[in-house]
Amino acid sequence: MRAILPAIPIRLEKRTDRTPRWVLAATPAGAFLFAFVVVTIVLLAGGHDPLQTYSAMLQASVASPSAISQTLVSATPLLLTGLAAAVAFRMGIWNIGGEGQLYIGAVCASGVALAIGAHGIGLALPAMILAAMIGGALWAAIPGLLRAYLNASEILTSLMLNYVAGLLLDWLINDSNSYWRDTSGISAYLVAHGKTIPGAADWPVIGSGSFTVPFGFLVGLVLAALLFVVVRHTWLGYQLRVTADNPGVGRYAGMASKRNFVIVMLLSGAVAAIAGASQVGDFTHILDPTGLQSPQYGYTGIVVAALGRYNPLAVVISALLLGAITNAGINVQSATFPQSLTGVIEGVILFCVLGSEILSRYRVRVGWEKVAVAA
């Protein structure tokens, strides 16, 4: 045997059989464990006491009814943008425009609320959601149509449109006398801000005492179930899965793949836009460019979707998880847990889960294949 080998590589062998169930179950668990270890190391390296940090996180996120309510507040936009990303990515459509679609949803919903909010929640709530969905869908239709009919990569076009949408927000509130901007008093000119929507258009809060659930979160739960059924059990979902797997087969079987592509973009855009409507209706009650842009709900939604492996039901769980981390970042905000750790933790978890996914498709072998050489 000759033992002198060049560097020992990591080799991946494609599984020829079906992935065993235990592997499917064990990989995400292992990934989270690994992420936990990495985060602990990061904390130690940063001079934090990991135990203290973790307990502060738990305190802030799950330890009491009000903490859980806070987590749900953070999870609401992530659930909706996560679902938007999941439904598109599951179909092999890389809509990373959830961010911009959310802004457009907020613009439409707040516009409608300002116009008819005073007529009461019964009218305002469905109108806000509907307007947001239409706006988000139309915004998403741009990359959808460009891809379907001109073959322009939707990854890049939808990404670019996020910035255009963000600039639209800035212009509406900061650099114009738009319908959305508060132009009533002197203070409004000192610090530009949006008009507050009529109180009658505020979305209801469900729950009692210190435990409350934002209405938008319930909308997200219903949507998760609906999208799950659509993907698994309907014509549309079937066609989309076939086309996602192989566009040629879709064409062969007479499926209108271009139309389906646009439909998925519309659907994804509409769902992301509800997140924007929820921000206005549930939480801020005004159109706030900074408040909408700085948390990057749209991009984080893609992380949420990837963590849930693009399965709408699993997205609920990953949205809650990232909601808890985000919430800890917002509410602990101290030397124990600087907000900047949220990005680090989210990133580490996603990298670990992403990296572990390969285990379900490949066997990992370290070292060369055994080579016998006659001496």
Partner: protein, 502 residues
């Protein structure tokens, strides 16, 4: 040498020896381990046991680069060429004539490659991009690449499937020239007559084992084709006799009619140029010709998958609108495309759902917007049983073997009892067993009254199965001959684009 994959032994103690200066043919049906053997020889895989020797020295090949250093090169069926680079740049990839590792001078490279092309009598234009070359020219670039790098062992994997008989002759001449210069050429083929025409020795692989090596030399004529074939499949197969002898009488009912069909390809280039054909119910019309002469576009256009530029197609007297697969389906059209996994089947979806690819809209499998999963599974189970297919309805199509995948595809297409069937490359890449099954199914479909258009590059197959043979070249039908007593020489000329005198 032995190579084991999880659960399979692909090569079991294969002994294989190539001498310098010979053309050594490697025969064997698909799945017999040829590919695995070649991948080990070229360093893509490492043997589980056993070893490779070059010039009597044991060598370990970890990568194609290692193999190249030992002078072993392979020309795959799918060329390893970078389309947007020029011929010269492709030849110079990872190799330089002057040993320079940093500088790359395009003009010098072009001159150098032009000189080499002339030296080896393989004319190509060095400054053109690969995308602008014909298949034959691309193959020459591939061989040139290997020869420049000092190939002493050249493996050609089914090199003639994409060539006209005349181009193939030219290739054989190059192969002999290379061997004469002291190199070894390993020639992998399914086609016995080619093997007999060009090789010095033949080795046969079956189920991962070498079953024998035969010296051809000057006694080529004395070697019995049947012997070789028996070594390949382990049983007698009938050669050179028509399998389908009972030719159905052309029925009175209309089959498939194609009038003045004109089709453009994806790049907007004319691919099919005014084809008119009538296929009677119960008839098999074979379309012979070298791949890339419009067959693909032709098949897709009649099946409604590709829009027609002009012309009419009707099935059973019903005219089909252009580019409407669903309209074609409704009229009774079935289509088995050449690219099974790229078009006919979705590999990431299970067998059951693939089986209803064309029928999921019907009431049998859906209720309102919902799909009835139970019925979908039942349908698949009964088809699997009917066609004696292994694997359950829930297994992914991507995990099926090529043969089983083709059977799933045929099962689905034939289940609707179509009036017309368009089938392209029906047995390409399949082993002899499945090939026979597929051919039987085609014959049975025709006997049951289906008008069959069978497009195949395998002339033997077309001769075997078709009632009439239409030869396609440059998007036109250059001639139609009766299969019975057809003259192969003449078909070859028609394939070259020579139009048959009326």
């Amino acid at each position: 040498m032995t190579k084991r994959f999880p659960g399979v032994v692909a090569n079991d103690k294969v002994d294989f020896e190539v001498l310098s200066g010979e053309v050594h043919a490697l025969l064997g049906e698909n799945g017999s381990g040829k590919t695995t053997l070649c991948k080990m020889l070229t360093g893509m895989y490492q043997p589980t046991a056993g070893h490779i020797e070059v010039d009597g020295e044991p060598v370990v090949l970890h990568s194609p680069g290692d193999a190249h250093r030992h002078g072993i090169f392979m020309v795959h069926q799918h060329f390893s060429l970078v389309e947007r680079l020029t011929v010269a740049e492709n030849v110079m990839l990872g190799w330089s004539s002057d040993g320079s590792r940093i500088r790359f001078n395009r003009r010098r490279a072009e001159q150098e490659v032009a000189r080499l092309a002339e030296q080896y009598e393989m004319p190509v234009q060095a400054d053109r991009t690969i995308a602008a070359l014909s298949i034959g020219e691309r193959q020459r670039v591939e061989i040139l690449k290997a020869v420049c790098r000092g190939a002493r062992v050249l493996i050609l994997d089914e090199p003639t499937t994409v060539l006209t008989p005349q181009e193939a002759e030219r290739l054989f001449a190059s192969m002999r020239r290379l061997a004469k210069a002291g190199n070894s050429v390993i020639f992998i083929s399914h086609k016995l007559h080619e093997v007999l025409a060009v090789s010095d020795r033949v080795s046969v692989l079956r189920r991962g084992v070498t079953t024998g090596t035969v010296e051809l030399g000057d006694h080529a004529a004395s070697v019995d084709r049947k012997d070789l074939a028996r070594m390949m499949v382990g049983r007698e197969i009938e050669l050179g006799r028509r399998r389908r002898v009972t030719r159905a009488q052309p029925a009175a009912s209309a089959g498939l009619e194609i009038k003045e069909l004109v089709v453009h390809n994806d790049l907007g280039v004319l691919a099919v140029d005014g084809v008119t054909l009538d296929v009677a119910a119960g008839e098999v019309l074979g379309i012979a010709g070298v791949a890339g002469n419009g067959q693909r576009e032709f098949a897709e256009a009649i099946a409604g998958v590709r829009p027609r530029t002009r012309g009419e197609v009707s099935v059973g007297g019903t005219e089909i609108r252009s580019g409407r697969p669903l309209a074609a389906l409704a009229a009774g059209m079935a289509f088995v495309p050449e690219d099974r996994m790229g078009m006919g089947l979705a590999s990431g979806i299970d067998v059951a759902e693939n089986m209803v690819l064309k029928s999921f809209r019907t009431g049998a499998f859906s209720r309102g917007p919902l799909i009835r999963r139970g019925r979908v599974v039942d349908n698949a189970s009964s088809l699997l049983e009917g066609y004696q297919l292994r694997g359950g309805p829930a297994s992914l199509v991507g995990q099926l073997s090529g043969g089983n995948a083709q059977k799933v595809l045929l099962a689905r297409e034939l289940a609707s009892k179509p009036r017309a069937l368009v089938i392209a490359a029906p047995t390409r890449g399949l082993d002899v067993g499945v090939t026979e099954t597929v051919r039987r199914l085609i014959a049975e479909a025709a006997d049951a009254g289906t008008a069959v258009v069978m497009i195949s590059e395998d002339l033997d197959e077309v001769l075997d199965l078709a009632d009439r043979i239409a030869v396609m070249s440059g998007g036109r039908i250059t001639g139609i001959v009766e299969a019975q007593g057809a003259d192969v020489e003449e078909i070859g000329l028609l394939m070259m684009g020579q139009v048959r005198a009326a």
